[in-house]
């Protein structure tokens, strides 16, 4: 029957057109654009194995070793330690120690009368690279260090170590192993400590066995960010009685700027100041008859900040985190005002800080004028006193941790720069690790999110940001491994920037919610009437073909 045959062919042709042309066309026109992402590399980053390499140089000065012992120099030695922090994060520390004898110039430098001068002239001789540590071993009898001092840590990356008594009969190996414990102590003071690094990983790793102190340190320090705004505010709640003058410009130049210059590799800082009038603290201080002064107890300090903060204003021109430092001059009727700590003692600095927010200092002026003085009284604020307190608070906020040197160690105070080179290195180590941890978490969670929700459009610029974040992360990890601390930090900063930009891109929110049931509600009026005849006729054709085959079978039988 040719007619029946024709109908069958027509049905098959229509089904073929629908399947070959219609479905791909529909698929192509309704799909969301999703650029390619380096998922495999991101999943590699999910399990992070960080290796931190430190170069240590141990220099023996004249009189510490016998000539036979010296013959074997130079010598080097690698020491590795591994820690598995959690299932996906591992740390490996690689200490590469090189031993050599001092050059003539270094000997000269070590002959300076005091340790500080020796430190300076050693620094003039050679610039040690970021992250490295140089230990000079000086004879036991040296007068460079006071009697009971074993180790002197300088302003740069050098330390002077008084050699323990060696027996001349020892060979070099014994000498070195005898020295190892001391060198290790020096390195753990001047370079990263395990606790700090684990604390820096807090974005990736659930904190379990971190000491309370390093936890407090890491909570206090403001999170790593490419830039910070530092705002000094003078709060004058009583402009009728006090006319306050502060030379903030000069104070910033002489106290804050050197520290910020030193910290320039870590982040960009901008400093500004303002004076706020009629700004009051949130709590009423209590009058204490015993000292005839107003007091703020430690418990009430948590309520002080909120009302003031509304007045501070946010920085309109940038979105970097702000560190606030407030100088509060109590009004004439509530002066003097003292802060008391938990054990009810007067806080000597009369200041306190709030983690990741900033610091407040109370500055009493009531003794600067008599009761008969004409109002408003002109008062010049002693900026040296104020800035000393704020500088200490700023160091805490920035995460320059307290180091607790073992007994017999002397740390040279950082001087006008506010920060010793090795302190900066410690900060760089933990900041690099923190950045890497944060960026890798951001990127992996973004990849996971995009993988789970298929409706999100991934634009090319997001794909580009993600890939650049991934490459920067890989380079940062590689540079850490190679011991190039400065580069590692730079790459980790780039990684964090790119990953945040990708994560917070507004285009990711477009069409986020386009549920399947609504989609099908729209498609059904078209799809149902079209598909039913096609499916039915296909079924019919199949059943006819079966029947025909059965007939043929029967006939042949």
């Amino acid at each position: 029957m040719p007619e029946k045959q024709r109908g069958r062919y027509a049905a098959l042709a229509i089904a073929a057109v629908v399947i070959v042309v219609g479905i791909p066309l529909w698929w192509k026109t309704t799909e969301t654009y999703r650029a390619w992402l380096p998922f495999s590399e991101i999943s590699e980053l999910d399990s992070l194995q960080l290796q931190l390499s430190v170069d240590i140089e141990v220099v023996f000065s004249r009189g510490t070793l016998t000539p036979e012992q010296q013959k074997k120099f130079p010598l080097s030695h690698v020491n590795e330690k591994e820690h598995q922090v959690d299932a996906k994060t591992g740390l490996r520390y690689k200490y590469e120690t090189r031993y050599r004898t001092a050059t003539i110039m270094e000997e000269d430098a070590l002959n300076q009368p005091t340790a500080a001068e020796a430190d300076l002239s050693l620094h003039m001789l050679s610039e040690s690279s970021c992250g490295s540590v140089v230990v000079y071993v000086i004879p036991e009898s040296s007068t460079l260090l006071p009697e009971d001092v074993k180790v002197y840590v300088g302003q740069r990356r050098t330390a002077l170590l008084r050699s323990p008594p060696f027996k001349t009969s020892w060979n070099l190996k014994e000498v070195l192993s005898n020295l190892d414990v001391e060198v290790e102590q020096v390195v753990s003071t001047m370079s990263f400590g395990h606790q700090d690094i684990v604390a820096a990983l807090s974005n990736r790793v659930r904190m379990t066995k971190v000491t309370k102190e390093s936890m407090a340190d890491s909570m206090r320090a403001i999170k790593s960010s490419p830039g910070y705004e530092i705002t000094f505010s003078l709060l004058n709640p009583d402009p009728k009685s006090h006319s306050l003058h502060w030379d903030i410009e000069g104070a910033v130049q002489s106290y804050i700027q050197p520290l910020l210059n030193k910290l320039a590799p870590i982040a960009n800082f901008s400093v500004d100041s303002q004076i706020l009038y009629y700004a009051v603290l949130g709590v009423n201080p209590r009058f204490d008859n015993s000292v005839s002064a107003y007091t703020l107890s430690a418990d009430s300090l948590s309520h002080v900040i909120n009302p003031v903060e509304a007045r501070l204003g946010s920085n309109a021109a940038s979105s970097n985190p702000v560190l606030n430092f407030l100088l509060y001059v109590p009004d004439a009727h509530h002066s003097p005002l003292f802060i008391r700590d938990h054990s009810k003692r007067k806080v000597p600095s009369n200041a306190f800080h709030s983690p990741r927010w900033g610091g407040i200092m109370v500055y009493n002026v009531n003794e600067m004028y008599g009761p008969e003085a004409e109002r408003p009284v002109d008062i010049n604020i002693n900026m040296a006193k104020v800035m000393g307190v704020f500088l200490a608070q700023l160091r805490l906020m920035l995460g320059v941790q307290h180091t607790h040197p073992p007994t017999g160690f002397v740390l040279q105070s950082p001087g006008s720069a506010g920060l010793a080179d090795w302190e900066l290195d410690r900060l760089l180590w933990s900041r690099s690790v923190e950045n890497i941890a944060t960026a890798s978490t951001t990127i992996t969670s973004l990849a996971q999110l995009l993988d789970q929700i298929g409706n999100i459009v991934i634009n090319d610029n997001i794909a580009q940001q993600v890939s650049s974040a991934v490459t920067s992360l890989q380079s940062a990890v590689a540079e850490l491994e190679a011991g190039n601390l400065a580069f590692a930090l730079q790459y980790s900063r780039e990684a964090i920037l790119a990953s945040e930009r990708a994560f917070f891109d507004p285009s990711l929110l477009h069409l986020l919610y386009f549920p399947d049931d609504q989609k099908f509600a729209i498609y059904i009026p078209l799809f149902l009437p079209m598909c039913v005849p096609i499916v039915l006729s296909l079924l019919k054709i199949v059943s006819e073909a079966k029947k025909r085959r059965a007939d043929k079978q029967a006939k042949s039988d």
């Binding site: 029957m1 007619e3 029946k4 024709r6 109908g7 069958r8 027509a10 049905a11 229509i14 705002t231 402009p239 009728k240 003058h245 903030i248 410009e249 901008s270 400093v271 500004d272 100041s273 303002q274 004076i275 009038y277 009629y278 007045r311 204003g313 946010s314 920085n315 309109a316 021109a317 940038s318 004028y369 008599g370 003085a373 408003p376 002109d378 008062i379 010049n380 729209i522 009026p525 078209l526 149902l528 009437p529 079209m530 005849p533 096609i534 006729s537």
Partner: protein, 571 residues
């Protein structure tokens, strides 16, 4: 003891000597109260902060603030702003009843900014600036984009120092729909050095301020000269707040008012940071009209808007102003009625026509001067969805064609740019000039409609700027002791003064679709396609066979009966 005292005073002397000789910033505050002829009260606050610094200086960043608010200073230096004027207004200023305001503003929000001529990406800066300002003032300024921003060529000249005329660096935008309320007032008050804790700002209680016929708050920032020779520059931040209280209706028909009645507060002190703090009351029409207490011996005269006015001046920095009660409350009783004031320049606007396709915008400008003609600049910014037919533009005065001497027209681009029409029109004396232009309403895409499209779409006020002939000689010389309200617009010549008049914003209905339409359309098309497809499919796949026609029903019945009877069947 005496020695100690002496030492102390010596120390104090040293301290005073050490402090900077002249304060580099200065703050002034002022309140002007003018009883209006309609029986309303016009209160105008002005706060001025002068700062002797340069935000735009290369290399040196200004970052230490005293009286000038830090948030605005940062904005100025980050976006290289040369001049910034922003106003938020609730209600419409009725020029015919109230005369001219000291500083005019259109209903809604208005923002115009002159950028420094070193800015390369003005549009980018403008976009970011509007976003930042919208954060500072809690307003929807972030809705300002290229579709409602224009660059007027002549109407908005810089008010401050410098005669920049390249309008590529000027951006002007209005949001006529913006509703102004307390959340805008609070950040505005926060910019004042004394906040609302002392000085005139204590009167600003929002429930009173917004219970008024007109409320307008503004911030104007511009660079100005410190002295007549202009040897040193300073930045001026002027915050103004204008309110018109309708005391006639809220005061139970009694025509008397006091500070307490208006603001539910009295004044107790000046802001201690202010170098001058004054209250002015316009008593030009006294004593026929009203009676003022407490009376003050201090009288001041100022030439404002082409008119010489006399003011009672109350100096808040003097203790005797507050009297025995330590509080200052002004009381005023009306005695009689007076005629309505006729402002020399007045403008209004309305939309004419019927249906949802075409319409006509009418702008009417009145020159009430009895014998002087003067030119005015009319600026209109119309959104792109009203497609102006510029060939239908007509200007008629005294039923005669009045050809504008200057026309600047920038046509709109759909979804990119609004229309901008600027004209210089000569107004004949004592005349009414009518400007009409026809338009067609565009159909928007369904996502472009606002949430309540049937409310209509706002078209911002037109702006009429003019140098109006003055009745009295204006003071062109620069004096520091002039009251603030009379010194905002620089006066270039004695014979005329500058006035800007805003017309009403328009509310235009656009053809609005049924918003369930897309789904209906999808369903309908799908059904049509399915029906067509079904029959087509049927036609193609069905096989047709010639069938034996079945015998009709009667024949079948007959055959049934025949079969029962055993008679041969019919064929």
């Amino acid at each position: 003891c005496w020695g100690k005292q002496n030492l102390k005073s010596l120390l104090k002397l040293i301290v005073i000597a050490l402090t900077p000789a002249a304060a580099r910033d200065e703050f002034q505050e002022e309140l002007v109260i003018r009883p209006l002829h309609s029986g309303d009260i016009y209160a105008s606050f002005q706060f001025r902060t002068l700062w002797d610094t340069d935000f735009l200086q290369e290399g040196q960043k200004v970052s230490h603030y005293r009286l000038f608010p830090k948030s605005l200073g940062q904005v100025l230096s980050k976006f290289s702003v040369r001049e910034l004027h922003i106003s938020f207004t609730q209600g419409f200023w009725r020029t015919m009843q109230w005369g001219q305001p000291f500083i005019p503003s259109p209903p809604g929000a208005e923002l115009w900014v002159w950028f420094h001529d070193t800015v390369s990406d003005v549009d980018g800066n403008w976009k970011e600036l509007t976003n930042v300002l919208s954060g500072i003032f809690c307003a929807s300024l972030n809705f300002i984009d290229l579709t409602n921003t224009v660059q007027p060529s002549a109407s908005f000249k810089p008010l401050g120092l410098g005669n920049a005329t390249d309008h590529r660096f000027l951006r002007y935008a209005t949001l006529p729909r913006e509703i102004v309320c307390t959340e805008n007032l609070t950040p505005w008050k926060k910019l004042l050095p004394c906040g609302s804790k002392a000085g005139l700002a204590v009167l600003m209680k929002s429930e009173k301020l917004f219970h008024s016929s007109f409320h307008s708050q503004a911030v104007h920032i511009r660079p100005i000269c410190q002295d007549e020779q202009c040897s040193s520059k300073a930045w001026e931040l002027r915050q103004t707040l204008n309110v018109v209280f309708d005391l006639h209706t809220s005061g139970q028909g009694k025509k008397e008012w006091s500070l307490f009645k208006m603001f539910s507060r009295t004044l107790t002190e000046a802001c201690p940071l202010a170098s001058s703090s004054k209250v002015y009351v316009d008593i030009t029409d006294n004593p026929e009209l009203f009676e003022l207490s407490p009376a003050t011996p201090l009288l001041g005269q100022a030439v404002v808007l082409g008119d010489r006015r006399t003011y009672s001046v109350y100096d808040l920095s003097r203790a005797e102003t507050f009297g025995q009660l330590r509080s200052f409350n002004l009381l005023l009783r009306w005695k009689g009625d007076s005629d309505m004031l006729r402002p020399l320049l007045h403008a209004e606007r309305y939309v004419a026509g019927f249906g949802l396709q075409t319409g006509e915008i009418h702008t009417v400008i009145y020159n009430n001067h009895p014998y002087r003609a003067f030119p005015v600049l009319l600026m209109d910014s119309v959104p792109w969805y009203l497609q102006l037919y510029i060939h239908t533009l007509t200007v008629t005065s005294k039923s005669r064609d009045n050809k504008p001497s200057y026309i600047h027209y920038q046509p709109a681009k759909d979804r990119h740019r609004p229309h901008l029409l600027e004209m210089l029109i000569q107004l004949p004396p004592h005349s009414m000039t009518e400007v009409t232009v026809q338009f067609e309403r565009a159909l928007l895409k369904w996502t472009e409609y606002t949430p309540d499209p049937n409310h209509g779409f706002y078209v911002g006020s037109s702006v009429v700027s003019a140098l109006v002939p003055s009745m009295v000689a204006m003071r062109t010389n620069f004096t520091q002791d002039q009251p603030l309200f009379s010194s905002f617009v620089p006066v270039k010549e004695e014979s005329s003064y500058f006035v800007r008049v805003y017309t009403e914003p328009l509310l235009v209905n656009l053809p609005t679709p049924d918003f369930s339409m897309p789904y209906n359309v999808i369903c309908l098309t799908c059904t049509v396609v399915a029906v067509g497809y079904g029959s087509f499919y049927n036609l193609l796949t069905r096989t047709f066979q010639v069938d034996e026609p079945s015998p009709p029903l009667s024949k079948r019945l007959a055959n049934l009966i025949r079969r029962m009877r055993g008679v041969p069947l019919l064929t």
